[in-house]
């Protein structure tokens, strides 16, 4: 399953990385504490978070996430979009809460 599949199934808004939606998704990680994300997330994870500041990009790059999904309609600022664009990390937005979007992605990963 790739990021494009999630975008389509879940109606996500793509803020950058339109050309990188073919990245493979192998799991998910939800959380806003960067130290926990660094310790606990895996390569290929979809990272679900409400953090919209530019530090999230470095974390995603380091952990080789498939993409970042911002919850509750959170809009990333221009610095974050620029960094994510440069690094080739798709930045997506959902109107749903962290719980709901994690629930739905989990369902798609474990049908």
């Amino acid at each position: 399953m790739d990021v494009a599949f999630l975008v389509e199934k879940l109606g996500l808004t793509v803020r950058c990385g339109e050309d990188r939606l073919d990245r493979e998704v192998s799991g998910g990680y939800a959380g806003d504490l960067l130290s926990n994300v660094l310790a606990g997330s895996k390569n290929g994870d979809v990272w679900v978070t409400c953090q919209a500041h530019q530090n999230i990009v470095a974390v995603s790059v380091l952990k080789e996430h498939a993409c970042i999904i911002l919850t509750q309609g959170r809009q990333p600022d221009t610095d974050t979009i620029e960094r994510a664009s440069q690094e080739g990390i798709p930045l997506l937005v959902t109107e749903l809460s962290g719980f709901e979007i994690a629930g739905r992605i989990y369902g798609l990963l474990h049908p």
Partner: protein, 126 residues
Amino acid sequence: MTLREIADLLDARILVGGDHLDIEVKTAFSADLMSDVLAFAKPGSIMITGLTNPQIVRIASIVDNSAILVVRGKIPPEETLTLAEELDIPVLSTRYILFETSGRLYANGIVGCVRKIEGPESVIPL
């Protein structure tokens, strides 16, 4: 689902509130940043978080969460558990990560708290 069923589903330890396991839970809110809980959590929802400081208990008390479920195998420190006992808020801990925990609960019919947000002016906080 009852708290007991949630604990069974997630192999969770009951740290505080062993006598409240029949509480019925229908909604959940997951967050590591507490302002989101204040903005969006519904009374009666279960708070799912990786934070373990006493803040989680104070917030749960303010928004009337039915219980707190701590993830990532974390066990809150004594001061958090003591405060939870004082404010009578059950605290559970599961080894599953937040994503997996949310996924499993969602698959079992627990729903989130937020209605669809139309735009910045129309967020419904309560």
